[in-house]
């Protein structure tokens, strides 16, 4: 596989994008892998992927064929241009039997060229759509000529790519002006050859215009070539040529030099300058050509080719089983009833109104308060213990371990899952989590205050 130029790379990427837009995503696992491992920035990776896919599916070959065809067409056009240029010179000078009418010769050498030059320039300036119209024409042609399904998206892709930087017109400008330049050069060479090998006499003719007009016109046209050092026929010579072709060498040479000079300055030079200008615009524009990464087709590739985030996998596996909190009722000598709350926030009024026989152990939150209560419970275990929990907190292992530890120091334990404060609702899922956790601990729970149970031992 020969190296593709940057333009061809972009072109292939665009082709693949259109293809995917048209016919759905391609199977690109391997292409993506290749592109990822090749590295570089995103456009590089997209192009790498496109190259790989195009190579696999035959677009690269189609592109090469296409280019080959284009080159062939260019050669044919160039040959045509050379032939027509030469024909132009022949037509202008004739076979030398009769004297050459200089203005007729000039007209046939330059006329069509200037008219088409003008129309091209006007088109460039005024018709913004001109490039598009030409493009459509070309699209239509290539659609008719494309026998290969692989090549179907090639032409639209190039067009879209170039259109984005408005490069079509400059590419065409290079082509048109280059061909005309070739034609003009060929005409010039043929002109010189003919004039070198044949003898031409030059005349001008008129029916209604005066001789002065021709003198002025000849001198005006010759002014620019004169700057380049090409001679202009003298006034007497011009006047004399009005009657019949002068049969003197100096006059012939003067007229010939004038004709060559005018062709050079008004035929060859403009086309040369325009061709160079278009080529310069084309080259600079080509350097600025890039993939439009905002196109949805490319934006979607970013995650596949250059993921901004990827999973690294599990680095520390989960245990088979979490540490379980065990619960067992105390068989110690116990007495009395106790209410304790854990991890309540300060917005909730606590404790509720308690019967005399029930003691309040306050709210457990910090380590110190836990230690104090557990110490106390182990010395004076209660017969009945109610633990109030706020089910808005999550039933974490720490809280459950505390509940279990408290329960172990009492003969009977119940958990009181508090209601939500007014204006708020409990999260049903979280409440469910509490139920599951407490069931695993084998502790009875309720959402109403177990005060009568605390007081009397039964409901």
């Amino acid at each position: 596989m020969t190296e593709l130029t940057p333009l061809q790379n972009l072109w292939l990427s665009e082709t693949i994008r259109l293809r995917e837009e048209h016919a759905g995503p391609l199977d690109d696992l391997e292409a993506n892998r290749v592109a990822r491992s090749a590295g570089g920035d995103l456009p590089t990776r997209i192009q790498c992927r496109a190259r790989w896919l195009a190579e696999r599916d035959g677009q690269t070959r189609a592109l090469k064929h296409w280019l080959q065809g284009a080159r062939l067409a260019l050669i044919v056009l160039a040959v045509l241009a050379v032939i027509s240029g030469a024909g132009l010179a022949f037509a202008a000078l004739g076979d030398g039997q009769s004297p050459v009418n200089v203005f007729w010769a000039l007209g046939s050498l330059l006329g069509l060229n200037l008219i088409l030059l003008l129309s091209w320039a006007l088109g460039l300036v005024f018709a913004g759509e001109q490039g598009a119209a030409l493009g459509r024409l070309w699209l239509w042609l290539s659609e008719k000529l494309a026998r290969d399904a692989n090549a179907a998206q090639l032409a639209p892709a190039l067009l879209l790519l170039l259109q984005r930087q408005k490069l079509n017109r400059w590419a065409l400008g290079v082509l048109v002006n280059g061909l005309w330049l070739l034609a003009m050069l060929s005409a010039l060479v043929m002109l010189l050859t003919l004039m070198a090998t044949r003898r031409y006499g030059f005349v001008w003719e008129t029916t209604i215009l005066g001789a002065d007009t021709f003198v002025a016109m000849t001198q005006a046209l010759g002014a620019l070539p004169a700057l380049l050092g090409l001679s202009v026929p003298s006034v007497e010579m011009i006047r004399a040529s009005g009657d019949a072709a002068l049969n003197i060498e100096s006059a012939r040479q003067a007229w010939a030099a004038w004709l060559v000079g005018v062709l050079l300055v008004y035929g060859v030079l403009p086309r040369l300058l325009l061709a160079l200008f278009c080529r310069w615009r084309w080259k600079t524009g080509q350097a600025a050509l890039h993939l439009d990464l905002n196109l949805p087709g490319y934006a979607q590739l970013r995650e596949r080719l250059m993921p901004t985030s990827e999973r690294l996998g599990i680095s520390d596996a989960a245990p088979e089983q979490l540490h379980r909190v065990e619960n067992a009722a105390s068989d110690l000598q116990s007495d009395g009833a106790l209410l304790v709350a854990i991890e309540l926030d300060d917005q909730r009024p606590w404790p509720p109104q308690l019967p005399k026989s029930v003691n309040d152990a306050g709210i457990l939150d910090s380590r110190e308060s836990r230690h104090k209560l557990l110490e106390q419970l182990s010395r004076f275990p209660p017969a009945r213990l109610a633990i109030a929990c706020d089910p808005r907190r999550s039933p974490d292992r720490g809280s459950l371990a505390l509940i279990a530890e408290l329960a172990r120091s009492a003969t009977a334990t119940r958990v009181w899952l508090l209601q939500a404060p007014p204006g708020e609702a409990l999260d049903a899922e979280r409440l469910g989590d509490w139920h599951v956790a407490l069931q695993q601990l084998d502790l009875p729970f309720a959402d109403c205050a177990p005060l009568s149970w605390l007081e009397t031992g039964h409901d």
Partner: protein, 458 residues
């Protein structure tokens, strides 16, 4: 790259159970499938990593850890590890703990968190801002602080009505943590990620460069996403505006054609919704568009609209101009019609003929009593509005969000009024531009141009 890449910054995401650590990771990595999120405590029981890269260079490794659940008991245990007459600093004490057997039993999950934090450059301490500042959280912070790594508190659920941000700020300040970030992982603020990384850069001066690159890249990508999204929406609108159906003027057939058109537009909108979801890395089920209001259709009164006529002129004229500009004269000069000229002339004629034919057939249809059905202006406006709403919702949605976005029809009628953008009027005259029409040519450069113009206006 001059030398080997800088090692990516390692961050451990730590916190109590059920505060949204995995959610935070999902949002930061824009990966809806990362880990497992549920209402149950201890959903995540392992340590799992995710990597953020810019231009293929890894910059940040984030590690999701199990929740701390038993910090009070752990702190108790840690303090008892100190032998009489010994003074251990935090990391030394943790090292002893991690070697011991409790690190594999009761405190197995806590040990995982601490090991990961010790191996990281810093920790993000995630807080459920709805929780009161309980003693267990303070103890948790104390245990984490003993790792000797910078901690950045991240307040999650700050958009909830029950959030207690001031309490948390005060409590954290008392513990010496003054920098903190508000970041709701379900509805992250637009500049949330930037603030988070900027705060991190303050804590980790050495990694400032990496974090700034990350910030810049994320900003660039946010913009790029918005532009791509605008193009997708513009594409939808052009498709619908250019769509047309030819139908005989009989009531029954009309009704059928209308319902078919409606179905086609509806499916096209769903395609756009799916493409937007994909672009924003959400799942297809994350948004659903409600049904379109009844389409009246718009009868083909635009057969003589200026754009259609202009198009006819431009095509014919353009073909000829193009021919001239292409230098058809080159071979005309030779005197006869060479092969090239014949082809070119044929092409010009062909282009014009094609246009005339399509226009002619429409005209013929009109004469034969057929009518053309197109999508009503107000439906186009509605589509634009709905997609814009969806886009806005996607921009504000975190990848941890579990609910589905409903794309509904707005109740007020203001959207029915106003002028349609020029690009849509143009599209009306180009049936070839709509992928909903048969024989469409959606790759035309002019269409792409109009899509871009429209995308700019969105």
């Amino acid at each position: 790259m001059t030398d080997a890449w800088k090692r990516p910054l390692k961050l451990a995401v730590v916190g109590h159970t059920n505060v949204g650590k995995t959610s935070l990771l999902r949002t930061l990595t824009r990966d809806v499938g990362f880990g497992e999120v549920s209402h149950r405590p201890s959903t995540t029981r392992h340590v799992e990593g995710a990597r953020l890269s810019v231009d293929g260079e890894p910059l940040l490794d984030l590690f999701d850890t199990p929740g701390l659940e038993d910090a009070i008991a752990l702190l108790d245990y840690l303090e008892r590890l100190e032998r009489p007459g010994e003074r251990l600093d935090g990391p030394a004490r943790l090292a002893r703990f991690l070697e011991g057997s409790e690190a594999r039993q009761r405190f197995e999950q806590e040990a995982k968190v601490l090991r990961q934090l010790l191996a990281s450059d810093a920790g993000l301490y995630v807080i459920d801002a709805r929780e009161p500042v309980l003693a267990k959280y303070r103890d948790e912070l104390q245990v984490l602080a003993s790792c000797g790594k910078p901690l950045l508190p991240v307040l999650n659920f700050v958009s909830s009505a029950q959030q207690r941000e001031p309490d948390w700020r005060e409590a954290l300040a008392r513990l010496g943590l003054h920098a903190l970030v508000r970041f709701d992982s379900v509805a992250p603020p637009e500049d949330g990620e930037r603030r988070l990384y900027e705060s991190l850069a303050l804590l980790l001066e050495n990694s400032r460069e990496q974090l700034e690159r990350l910030i810049a890249d994320q900003q660039a990508q946010r913009l790029a996403r918005q532009q791509s999204a605008a193009q997708l929406i513009a594409d939808l609108l052009i498709d619908c505006a250019a769509c047309r159906r030819s139908v005989a003027s009989e009531a029954e057939q009309e009704q059928q054609a209308i319902s078919e058109l409606r179905k086609a537009v509806r499916q096209r909108e769903q395609r756009c919704v799916e493409a937007l979801l994909k672009l924003y890395a959400f799942r297809p089920q994350d948004a659903a568009a409600s049904d379109l209001p009844l389409l009246d259709g718009r009868w083909g009164d635009d057969l003589f609209n200026p754009e259609t006529l202009k198009q006819l002129g431009v095509r014919v004229g353009g073909g000829i101009a193009a021919g001239a500009a292409a230098g058809a004269g080159v071979d005309l000069l030779v005197g006869g019609l060479t092969l090239g000229a014949a082809a070119l002339a044929g092409a010009i004629a062909g282009g014009a003929l094609q246009t005339a034919r399509s226009y002619g057939s429409r005209l013929l249809g009109k004469i034969k009593g057929q009518r053309e059905l197109t999508v009503d202006d107000s439906v186009l406006r509605l589509l634009a509005l709905r997609q814009r709403q969806l886009l806005q919702a996607l921009n504000q949605r975190g990848h941890a969000a579990m609910d589905s976005i409903q794309v509904a029809t707005p109740q007020d009628k203001t959207w029915r009024e106003g002028k349609l953008p020029e690009a849509l009027n143009k599209a009306r005259a180009h049936p070839l531009w709509s992928s909903l029409n048969p024989h469409s040519k959606v790759n035309q450069a002019e269409r792409q141009e109009q899509v871009e113009v429209l995308a700019q206006q969105l």
